[in-house]
């Protein structure tokens, strides 16, 4: 009985620990990189499925995306780096990985050689993520900066017992992590541009550190290699040598670095006969804009920056000539890869470039204005975000001069091909009462009120007495199916309180069917069956659609697809034919403007496909003459395919 109750006690403590310790789930908007999810996912991998791993600080897990690399090369890898991961933790993660996988290469980000003080809480995350083993036991004592961390790692309740005030459903039920596909990477789909990266706490050579009493403790530029970190790097080197693994020191991109440290570390590595650093800050073809390629003012890359470095990384792996392409044989990675591609496309769409979502939505509506009635009003202001793309699409809906919202003015508009098509703008509150008869003979009424910024806060979009406005500052729309007078979609787009463009659309409550989306099939077929003509010349290019409204542009003969070079998104980036990967960099948003011109926007770069004077494809931000050169023709090449303009 005593043993039984002791066993119950142990079980309860284990269960309690599980409840109390934070899950550190990966989400895209957390401050941390979701260590819990990332390491738990690592342990789920079947044995002997990894070719390489990456360890080191957080610069690495924001810089390397093994799924993108797999798509490009077929090589399998995992990022076991972590926030402020010290070199001792890196060593133990190498051991952990080596237990289950026959690795061919270990990439070590060398940031932690130039070390600040260890953070107990961050090291603790690393230690708690390891599965119980002798390795973990040694890691606890070797990696912990203080005894509190040791106690917390051995007995997590020591640190987390006071989380009882923060418990929620997730604490008890666990988390669904089946939607994490990134193999240890962490992607952020935003840039934080509150201030330029140059101004913020970056480790420039001039920076010194002051203690609280004003005395200077050290100049960061002259910080030396930590002897403790160096000893663990040497252990990694020794382990790799013993197990026939290549150890490659790397420096992942960040502004939080300086060249003096690179030189110091290279000298240190040279002394030991090791490879010098593969410094991603200093590679041909890798150029970063710290304001747009990082999500925290230069510290860590965002999705766009990550895509660049992952592409470089893929090239580097290929050049090593030691890996096998698993794409033709592997089941699990291929399955995950497919899911990853879908996830990547939808996330880029949702998070990165909402205006492309707006274009697609408006295009879906404009393609079928014979079927729809569109009601629209402006709440507060729309001029700040309204662009030519939106204008063209509203023109296709029938608004001759677009909506043309003026700053802070009220706008009401109706597009009813069987009735009226008009829009009205003024500084006053605009109110419109109207009616229409649907094809089934029923009469329906509508009531629209628009208040610009200077005329109050009233906003109404009613159909048959039911309110459909999203109450979002910007353009609020309602799409009515002419056949039965039902509202099939309500949407809004505009700037949020942080000045970011947002879009939302909803199928009204009670409707199971998304008629708007269902009606897009014919248009998709038309595009897929058409042939892309560039400057009047047929180029054997066809659109290949994905399930979510994007298209690849494929050469019929070679099977290659149009892709911005080096995953770059800068102005005038060359766009060339490359091997198909299915990644977001190869996806395009397509719509036809009121003149029948095809507008092709890179999903990855949010820039228009254009043709320069030399006849080469490039990316441009503005839709100009170079972009007005595409048209879609039917398979038999007769006539210009136009949108419903």
């Amino acid at each position: 009985m005593l043993i039984f109750f002791c066993a119950i006690g142990i079980f309860l403590i284990v269960r309690l620990t599980d409840v109390m310790v934070p899950k550190w789930t990966y989400t895209m908007d957390r401050d941390d990189a979701g260590e819990g999810t990332r390491y738990r996912d690592f342990y789920k991998l079947p044995d002997n499925t990894l070719d390489y791993i990456v360890v080191g600080t957080s610069h690495a897990n924001y810089a390397v995306n093994p799924m993108q690399i797999y798509e490009e090369t077929g090589y399998t890898g995992y990022v076991l780096a972590g926030e402020q991961q010290n070199m001792s933790c890196s060593y133990y993660w190498v051991l952990e990985a080596g237990k289950k996988h026959k690795l061919k290469a270990v990439f070590v980000d060398v940031s932690s050689l130039i070390a600040d003080k260890d953070s107990s809480s961050l090291i603790l995350k690393e230690l708690l993520a390891m599965k119980p083993s002798i390795t973990k036991f040694h890691a606890i004592f070797d990696c912990s900066p203080d005894m509190d961390t040791v106690y917390s790692a051995l007995f997590p309740l020591y640190n987390f017992h006071d989380r009882w005030t923060d418990l929620n459903r997730e604490s008890f039920q666990g988390v669904n992590e089946s939607n994490y596909y990134l193999r240890g990477s962490a992607l952020r789909f935003y840039s934080s541009n509150e201030y330029a990266s140059d101004e913020v706490g970056i480790r420039t050579t001039e920076k010194t550190v002051l203690e609280t009493d004003g005395t200077q403790s050290y100049s960061e530029a002259h910080m030396d290699i930590s002897s403790d970190a160096a000893s663990y790097l040497e252990k990694i080197i020794a382990y790799c040598n013993e197990n026939d693994i290549q150890m490659i020191p790397v420096k992942c991109p960040t502004r939080h670095w300086n060249s003096e440290w690179t030189d110091k570390i290279n000298a240190y590595l040279a002394d030991r006969g090791a490879n010098k650093i593969e410094n991603m800050l200093d590679q041909d073809g890798l150029k970063f804009d710290w304001d747009t390629d990082t999500h925290d003012n230069g510290y860590h890359l965002n999705y766009v920056g990550n895509a660049k470095t992952s592409h470089w990384f893929a090239g580097y792996l290929k050049s090593m000539n030691i890996f096998t392409d698993h794409r033709s044989t592997d089941g699990i990675w291929n399955e995950t890869a497919d899911t990853y591609l879908k996830w990547e496309r939808s996330t880029v769409y949702d998070c990165l470039y909402p205006r492309q979502k707006i274009y697609r939505y408006l295009s879906d509506v404009a393609d079928h204005t014979d079927k729809y009635i569109v009601l629209l009003m402006v709440y507060q202001d729309a001029e700040a975000f309204y662009d030519t793309g939106m204008d063209e699409l509203f023109q296709r809906m029938g608004f001759e001069n677009g909506i043309n919202p003026e700053s802070q003015k009220s706008v009401v508009a109706v597009a009813d091909r069987d009735g009226d098509i008009f829009s009205r703008t003024s500084y006053r509150k605009e109110e419109l009462l109207g009616s229409f008869v649907s094809k089934d003979g029923e009469k329906h009424s509508y009531h629209i009120v628009s208040s610009g910024a200077t005329s109050g806060k009233e906003s109404i979009l009613e159909v048959d007495g039911r309110e459909y406005t999203c109450d979002f500052p910007g353009i609020n729309m309602v799409v009515i199916d002419r056949s039965d007078g039902k509202v099939i979609s309500r949407s809004a787009f505009g700037l949020d309180d942080k000045g970011k463009l947002c879009f939302e659309d909803h199928v009204p409550d009670g409707d199971a069917e998304d008629r708007l989306r269902n009606n897009t099939e014919s248009e998709k077929t038309k595009i897929e069956n058409g042939v892309l003509i560039t400057n009047g010349n047929k180029k054997n290019l066809k659109f290949v659609s994905t399930d979510d409204g994007c298209y690849m542009i494929k050469d019929i003969e070679s099977g290659m697809v149009l892709t911005p070079e080096n995953f770059d998104n800068a102005e005038r980036t060359p766009v060339t034919m490359q091997e198909e990967t299915g990644l977001a960099s190869q996806q395009w948003t397509v719509f036809t403007d009121s003149n029948g011109n095809m507008r092709i926007l890179s999903l990855f770069a949010d820039k228009y496909l254009a043709v320069d004077r030399s006849g080469n494809y490039v990316l441009t931000a503005e839709y100009g003459d170079e972009s007005k050169c595409f048209e879609l023709r039917s398979e038999h090449g007769k006539g210009k395919e136009q949108g419903a303009a």
Binding site: F5, I13, Y151, S152, Y158, N159, H161, W164, T165
Partner: protein, 538 residues
């Protein structure tokens, strides 16, 4: 090592294990080794020197006193045996000679050991005040700064040993002839940190006799240990967060009115949970070894007067003061003479009570000073002494008033009033024991009455002082729970005995509930600067 550290827990378990494994004859030796190990771990070798000095000098002085007493007795026996009848003068002469000699060793022992205590504990205080006085005359700053080591539990073991020495002098019991046995009595680890102040005649036999494994005793001891950890870690440490914030920052943050009142009230519960929780750990640990210490608390917040409060709070200190300060003053010849002349001046009643009043005043002044070497403790002592002694002095007057107003002092309402009144008086006293200085205490009391800010209960300001809503809720519930347990104890129901008597599964459910309550709700762990027990510093 602190009592609620993992180290102590491991140490205790190992000691218990070895204690019950070794032959019964040497169990006391295990305790002695464990006690000195505990002491060295806590204080270092320098502190061990002081406890050894006290142990050796007290042991030798007691042996000497006993020898003198025995020699005197032997002379009387010799005279009786030889048939020689001694005159009363001769007898008195022998007695006086014996008393005189005994007194030399008693005074030497008291002076040496209390001297050590006074120098180590109060030396800096005296020096600082002399220096301050000299500064007032323009001669300050000449006394070099000194830092005195404060050995662990010096107040406690000094009182324990001096009580023993006085008892030997009084002939209450025979001196201990086994030095190591006496050393164990002095340094017994459960009581060394913060008491109780044990008596030799209660402890000696228990420490020496063999102890066999007692399942029930172990269970009750374990339960009491858990209860102690619960009180300290869940209630005391949690209350301390708010109390420390208010007491440290009342001036800079401008805390007033009810905020200060709540802090003082909470401090009362903090110190009770802290001290009695420490006692429960100590008692629990000792019970698990089969050695039962003298109780130190008896539900103090059910006291109806300040006098009664001190009969329920830190009872062993009160008992020591009663036996070695109060009664010696009251029963001295000088007091008897004084009482006679006071009766003539003030009548029978006041003449009778004035001397005990004075004695209790002195005793409680010493209690105040015993707490620490600061003026605030002197004021604290005077404050408590005033209420205790006035209670003695005006007891008859209060009784007459109650009779005139026809107040039934046994009624629930009057009893409640008494309890509340006592709590409030004690609360005011807490300002002096907790405040940073006597002046700060006065300022805080003034600030408490400066505003009737009832709105602090609804405007969430109390949630910005270290405790969020959930922690406040938990604290209040746990304090109520503590009082409920005290209520049962007051009614004679010892809950831990009831638990120990439950069937196995029910008992273990209670154990786990207590353990998990401490694990989850306890204030400990990374990021917490674990405070030692409050009374450990005295």
């Amino acid at each position: 090592m602190t009592l609620f550290s993992l180290t102590f827990f491991v140490f205790l378990l190992l000691t218990i294990l070895v204690y019950y494994i070794v032959p019964k004859k040497i169990q006391w030796a295990v305790l002695l080794i464990a006690s000195y190990f505990f002491y060295c771990y806590g204080t270092g070798w320098k502190g061990v020197v002081f406890i050894l000095v006290t142990t050796i000098t007290t042991y030798l002085a007691a042996r000497k006193i006993e020898k003198i007493q025995l020699a005197y007795q032997a002379k009387l026996d010799e005279a009786k045996a030889s048939g020689k009848k001694l005159s009363s003068d001769e007898k008195n002469g022998l007695k006086n000679e014996s008393v005189k000699q005994k007194r030399v060793y008693l005074i030497a022992g008291l002076l040496l050991n209390f001297g050590i205590l006074i120098v180590l504990k109060y030396g800096n205080f005296v020096i600082d005040n002399i220096d301050a006085a000299m500064t007032a005359f323009g001669m300050g700053g000449r006394i070099p700064e000194t830092s005195f080591i404060l050995p662990l539990g010096i107040s406690f073991y000094t009182f324990i040993t001096m009580g023993y020495l006085i008892d030997i002098y009084r002939g209450k019991y025979a001196a201990d002839h086994k030095f190591f046995h006496f050393a164990l009595f002095t340094a017994y680890f459960p009581q060394i940190i913060q008491g109780p102040i044990g008596r030799y005649n209660d402890m000696a036999k228990q420490l020496e006799e063999p102890h066999y494994w007692d399942d029930f005793g172990f269970r009750t001891g374990f339960m009491r240990l858990l209860w102690g950890y619960f009180k300290k870690m869940v209630i005391a440490e949690r209350a301390g967060i708010f109390v420390n914030e208010v007491f440290s920052n009342y001036d800079s943050a401008g805390y007033q009115g009810f905020v200060i009142f709540i802090a003082a009230l909470l401090y009362g519960f903090q110190i009770y949970a802290d001290f009695s929780g420490g006692m429960d750990i100590v008692f629990g640990a000792s019970d698990m070894l089969g050695i039962h210490l003298t109780e130190n608390f008896r539900q103090p917040y059910f006291a109806k007067s300040v006098s009664e409060f001190w009969q329920r709070w830190h009872m062993t200190l009160g008992g020591w003061m009663k036996d070695y300060v109060f009664y010696p003053i009251c029963l001295s010849k000088r007091a008897a003479r004084a009482q006679k002349s006071l009766k003539k001046k003030f009548g029978n009643h006041y003449g009778r009570v004035l001397v005990p009043t004075f004695a209790s005043f002195i005793a409680f002044l010493i209690v105040g000073i015993w707490h620490g070497a600061e003026w605030k403790y002197v004021v604290y002592g005077i404050f408590m002494a005033t209420f205790v002694s006035s209670n003695t002095l005006f007891e008859q007057l209060y009784m007459d008033i109650r009779t005139k107003l026809k107040i039934d002092d046994k009624s629930f309402w009057y009893s409640s009033f008494q309890v509340l009144r006592t709590t409030m008086i004690v609360l005011v006293g807490r300002f002096f024991s907790r405040g940073t200085s006597a002046m700060d205490a006065v300022r805080m009391i003034r600030a408490m009455f400066s505003s009737f800010n009832l709105w602090v209960f609804s405007d969430n300001s109390l949630l910005n002082m270290g405790l969020d809503q959930k922690n406040w809720n938990l604290l209040i519930v746990m304090i109520v729970f503590l009082m409920v347990v005290d209520y049962f104890n007051e009614k004679g129901v010892v809950i831990r005995n009831r638990i120990a008597g439950m069937v196995f599964p029910a008992r273990w459910i209670v154990y786990y509930a207590a353990i998990f309550a401490v694990l989850i709700f306890g204030i400990y762990g990374a990021g917490y600067d674990a405070s030692s027990f409050i009374y450990q510093n005295f």
